[in-house]
Symmetry: C2
């Protein structure tokens, strides 16, 4: 992250002035942050602040943030100072947290205070929590009373809860207002609110009693009462609910925002749809990583260093090795059978891989279905029976295919053993793969852990034991 | 899907009247669709339509849809007729497409026409496309001219493009309007529009020249001109862009909706954030399934039947078996070495599994990073070098662990072979796993295909060859 930005090829810049490069970066179908970053970098070196300011004005905050993130820390701080105050607060919201801390270092005390007062409540709380304690203590007294209390309250919710991702910049209305008065009120508070498209109706104790959309207020007769316009069947979440539940509710009901209440059902915040989308993205990435038995990375894969990746991967690798010692022991146990029929070895990788592959397929389908809520614990029995049918069909097909290779490599008996084994290992592997995610769910672990390597390792052990067990049995009976 | 709904346990219903059950289903933190469905089912049997109507009135469309989806087709059709027309159109939007077709069968011609006129443009087009051709031809003449043309236009975009998920129910404004006039216009058109929170400013040729938010219009002085209030740096997508790009832009810029233009930059539709969220969810599920080399399922995993699952899984299973024949051939090639040192077999599963596990970890990290755009093709070389460092560290750690087991099971020489092999296979497996997603990307395939079974199978072959090759070499030199 601290590597200074170096453009990989300067060819495009050689033909373009920095101003032209910035124009081109904006004009492309997808914003070209690398091009923009090299142009901004050059303009900073030249000291042409005006050109940068002009570009800031006509560029979206998300694009500016991506550009600045590519600059080295010193230039990031210089560029940050050129941003107009309101826009700076917006750009901050799009920067990764470590870079926000970095950029803060270049601002004066007054600028930092101004920034904190302008940032949205949830982003402000995140940044505040990322600061070293000494910084926090220096900053707190400079903030307004309301912001201070807000910070303390938002910081009190545990990571991963609805409270930790909510913002307190929501608009409330009293039920007795008319539509005209309500619109007037929303117009008045709009500058400080994250959204005014949903307004929350609360009683004197701040208990949530309804929600009304700006659309409804605008299309209603001006004298209509908020109490009559509002939707009273309000969907909400508790501040200590899992953030995943919030994202699911917003997706399910197509909401712009979801109100968050405390255990006394008093409104304490809202989570907006765009924050929920970030959560959904994060959760999908974590699930994906867990499916490969990688510990959750707190930083982006691109920026993770060697030591971090090592730590996140070594635990499962070593653990799974010990699982495979059982496979080894299984093979050692059947050494006599193997020595007598060395042709069996040809089919070993193929049989245990098929068991693992079928298991991974079954596991992944269930992992995803459990994660999206499409399948529930109570569906286990039905899913198990269906998997049995699918797996038998798969196993028989593959047994048929492998039988002829067995005949060719080792004769009638080997073909029989290999065919039988294939049917059984594909079925057993599939059932293990399909059941493990349910077991993980039952143990309150992420079902994703049960796909990939874990299933493969367990299916391997089963495959070895079934194969050589089957071979020993068949050869004994056929006197081979 | 055609199974009639049977509650798994009636205990809750035995104590509750259906009316109480419905109330309880609504009151729980998460809506209890199964409880509601059994209550609605009982009320339908009793013929108590009034109770159902009352419940429909106070329940959200998404919850009604989930409940009705659990009823058998006959009851679904009965319940559908009890919905008030506007609400029915909303509920239809939340039903899975096959059930929409099912439910349509119970409505009269007039009701179908009314429904089609009320549905949002994108949902209407999806349903229309799902109908058999004869139905389509019967329906078309009953629709209004505008809806007919709309249907034809929306149906003309290929599956998976921005055009296929966009809606034509967007609000446009002329640049010369004042804020007051613009608000008046939005108020007028609101009932027919999917959103009025973003309004798109177009010139006489319908070319998109700006976007203005309702929030901006409400807070602006009433006489301010739209042309001065609008954002002119508009982010948009082309109708033939990939739907994934649309979802990414909406997530990146935190938009409520993204405008879609044709190649002449004329506005033809918008994609709303909630539709983009559905796309993101769909894409994540597909990626997940591809990572287990399962073909993309067009229906939910829960509803997929045995034959469909068989078809989606058999191709890769058989293909991967043939990959593993190389492993078998490798083993057969080294039969003499193995026969002379049968203790080597103990370590075979463990070594090839470690290669596959390390490969799966590396692959999954890259798959996800490539999918979210965090890592690009041009990062390959940097990622490769980092992976080399991580993999060597992992391999050496695991070699150290396995060395002692080698010493115990087979003595000095075996320990040496096993330790060396572990270092090499973990490194090679990791580098294969890390590179494959890039290769897939280069071939314009989904990188997700490169995680899981495919990586494991390739790593297996490499593992077998490295292991026994190393063993043959070491024993030859040490004269073992």
């Amino acid at each position: 992250m601290s590597e200074p930005y170096k453009p990989e090829s300067d060819s495009s810049l050689e033909q373009l002035t920095p101003e032209q490069a910035l124009e081109q970066a904006d004009a492309e179908d997808e914003f070209d942050a690398e091009l923009a970053a090299s142009a901004v970098s050059e303009l900073l070196e030249r000291g042409d602040r005006e050109a940068i300011r002009r570009w800031f004005e006509e560029t979206l905050a998300a694009d500016i943030a991506e550009t600045l993130a590519l600059l080295d820390p010193e230039k990031l701080r210089q560029a940050m100072k050129l941003l107009e105050r309101e826009e700076r607060a917006r750009v901050f919201g799009y920067l990764p947290l470590p870079l926000q801390v970095e950029a803060l270092a270049g601002l004066t005390r007054a600028e930092v205070t101004d920034l904190f007062n302008r940032m949205s409540a949830d982003e402000r709380a995140d940044l505040f929590n990322a600061l070293p304690e000494s910084e926090q203590e220096r900053l707190l007294p400079t903030l307004a009373q309301a912001e201070r209390e807000d910070l303390r309250r938002l910081a009190s919710y545990a990571e991963g809860t609805a409270g930790s991702i909510m913002t307190s910049d929501y608009a409330t209305l009293a039920p007795q207002l008319s539509a005209r008065e309500a619109l007037e009120e929303l117009r008045r508070v709009a500058p400080d609110k994250e959204t005014i498209y949903n307004a929350y109706v609360v009683d004197e104790e701040r208990r949530l009693i309804g929600v009304v959309t700006l659309r409804k207020l605008i299309t209603a007769p001006p004298s209509a009462k908020v109490a009559d316009l509002m939707e009273t069947n309000v969907v909400f979440a508790y501040a200590d609910d899992d953030q995943k539940e919030v994202a699911e509710k917003i997706a399910r009901y197509d909401f712009i925002a979801l109100p968050i209440v405390d255990r006394e059902e008093r409104l304490v915040g809202i989570v907006t749809a765009d924050d929920a989308m970030d959560v959904a993205e994060e959760e999908a990435t974590e699930s994906f990583q867990r499916s490969a038995t990688v510990g959750p990375l707190e930083v982006s894969v691109k920026d993770a260093d060697v030591a971090l990746l090592y730590r996140k991967r070594i635990f499962w690798l070593v653990l799974l090795v010990f699982g495979n010692i059982f496979s080894g022991a299984g093979i050692a146990y059947f050494e006599d059978t193997i020595a007598a029929h060395i042709a069996l070895l040809f089919f070993l990788p193929l049989l245990i891989a098929s068991s693992g592959n079928a298991g991974t397929q079954a596991a992944t389908l269930m992992v995803r279905a459990l994660a999206t809520g499409e399948v529930q614990m109570r569906d286990f029995f039905r899913m198990f029976l269906r998997e049995l049918a699918v797996a038998l069909a798969l196993g028989l097909t593959m047994a048929f295919a492998i039988y002829w290779i067995g005949l060719w490599r080792g004769g009638q008996e080997i073909a029989l053993v290999v065919g039988l084994t294939m049917t059984v290992v594909v079925t057993v592997g599939s059932l293990i793969g399909m059941s493990l995610p349910f077991l993980m769910s039952l143990l309150r672990l992420d079902p994703a852990t049960a796909s990939g390597p874990l299933v493969t390792s367990i299916a391997d052990v089963a495959g070895v034991l079934i194969y050589f067990g089957m071979a020993t049995l068949v050869f004994r009976h056929l006197g081979g």
